[in-house]
């Protein structure tokens, strides 16, 4: 069975910003999962007034996967590969815990790691996990769920106003339309 793993809140927050957690649920199609640290981070973010839509994430991903003792140790080691000077001591645990659980439980082959964080994607890829991001999910929404291009372009603009950067190939409307159907 395919698992769509969300190792941080980057993509979840984007769907909350466009107020389309329902679309995320349709895309996950019952395959979405998350780990305990991500669930914890998400619950904190949902306290922000503009991100209350994140409260719906629990319905999409269900009970979080929880690490066992060996996975805790892997998480600590993997976190070093994501950390940067000045990071808060609790940063990167979601991504590290997710990779630890996927690799320890040999879920790599049927798993897609969904994040907009380049370093998290690098870590996943290096561990043999395929990666996807917000933009890939929106493209699938257009191609498989019939979401209108005009509506999607509106989402892109909303996300740009939040500081998100769309793919280089989709910076204006005409290139965006080409990118959607490519």
């Amino acid at each position: 069975m395919t698992t769509l793993m969300f190792p941080d809140t980057t993509v979840l927050i984007n769907f909350a910003h466009i107020n389309r957690m329902d679309l995320l649920a349709r895309l996950a199609n019952g395959n979405g999962r998350w780990c305990a640290s991500v669930a914890s981070e998400c619950a904190r973010s949902a306290r922000q007034s503009d991100l209350t839509a994140l409260d719906d994430a629990g319905d999409i991903f269900g009970d979080p996967l929880r690490p066992d003792p060996a996975e805790y140790q892997d998480t600590i080691a993997l976190r070093d590969q994501l950390a940067a000077p000045g990071d808060a001591p609790s940063k990167h645990f979601g991504e590290a815990e997710t990779v630890a659980i996927i690799t320890r439980r040999h879920l790599n082959l049927n798993c897609f790691f969904v994040t907009d964080d380049r370093d998290a994607a690098r870590l996943a890829s290096r561990n043999g996990i395929r990666v996807a991001d917000t933009w890939l999910l929106l493209r699938i929404a257009h191609r498989r769920l019939g979401l209108d291009a005009d509506v999607l372009w509106g989402y892109v603009q909303t996300l740009q106003r939040q500081g998100r950067r769309p793919p280089n190939e989709a910076r204006d409307r005409s290139s965006f339309d080409k990118w959607l159907s490519a």
Binding site: T2, R44, R66, L82, A83, F93, R122, S125, A132
Partner: protein, 366 residues
Amino acid sequence: MSSIGDRVLQILARVCPDLPHREVAERAGMTPDAFSRSVNDKRQFASIELARIAEITGTDLHWLVTGQPDPSRLIVAARHNFDQATGLRSVPGRTHDEQVLADIALAYRQAYPRPEDQPDAAATWPKTAAAIRGALGDAFVRPFAKLLEERLGIDVVRVKELSTAYSFTVAGRPVIALPATGSWFYENWSMAHELRHLLNGDHDDSLSADDAAGREQACNAFAAELLLPADEIRAVDWESVSDAELARFIWDRGVSTAALRHRLEALLPQLPARVARWADSTTQRLLRYHLPIDGELDAITTRMDEAAQRRFPLALQEAHLKQVEDGVIGKATLAWMLDVDPAELEVDSPEVAQADADELASALGL
């Protein structure tokens, strides 16, 4: 054998016995019920919850998880300030320095993830000041840091964010970390001082205040003998030394006028008048007035400039580049070492390919 829940309760009882568990749960991002079930082993903690509890209690996450001390835990020795009036030693900037030291340690762990592969530099170290001088060669204070790396395998880091000098071993590498002050004489003394801490294995965080003070004294005595050997001091006719000769002496040995005064006070029956006079002045003033400078470049300014530069060993930077190229780590720590914007730092790193949209959609049953 205790469980993670037992250890959480144990550390809370020891470190913050008056902090209600309800508040601990809130700060750890948990409901009181989730916290209660977790400490009773009926629910597994999220890693981030344990990390937050480690932060609240100031304890070691590795210990919370395993019950064993973290083998990569940073145990440092620091150069203390000494208050002549009270005789007390202290490191007033220690709390602020903790984050900087943690960042330096991270840089080493990322570069050298397998400490067991690092050479055992300590096995080759001479133990006395005279033998160290022999190993480093004549006039070693000029490229002191470089020679420590090349000949003794001791890395030297210099950053302006530190308040004092430290030494430690991290990821199998012995390291001296210095504050960038522009004072090469302070820096030389610090390197000599911290070198003694490393040679002696003075890295033990359970030392009593008296033991720690004793080690500080021993390190200063070692630094004095390394930079200002007693036999050389005694061989000088201090009463006939001119200002120019005095300037040349402290320049060649890379020490301050104050350090020379303390050394002469310890070795001679009476402090020579000329040394006493200059000791009340700044080192730079003596040098500016009396050190003959050859060439177009001002050697004093050059030394000062070097002692103010951010410095990380090239081998450490190369190890980072290799790790970035292999996709093991990102470039943020390398950018921090170089003090540049990570977005502007162009280094080779593997492309991360996105999954194929149609393949993913089909896999999801869409």
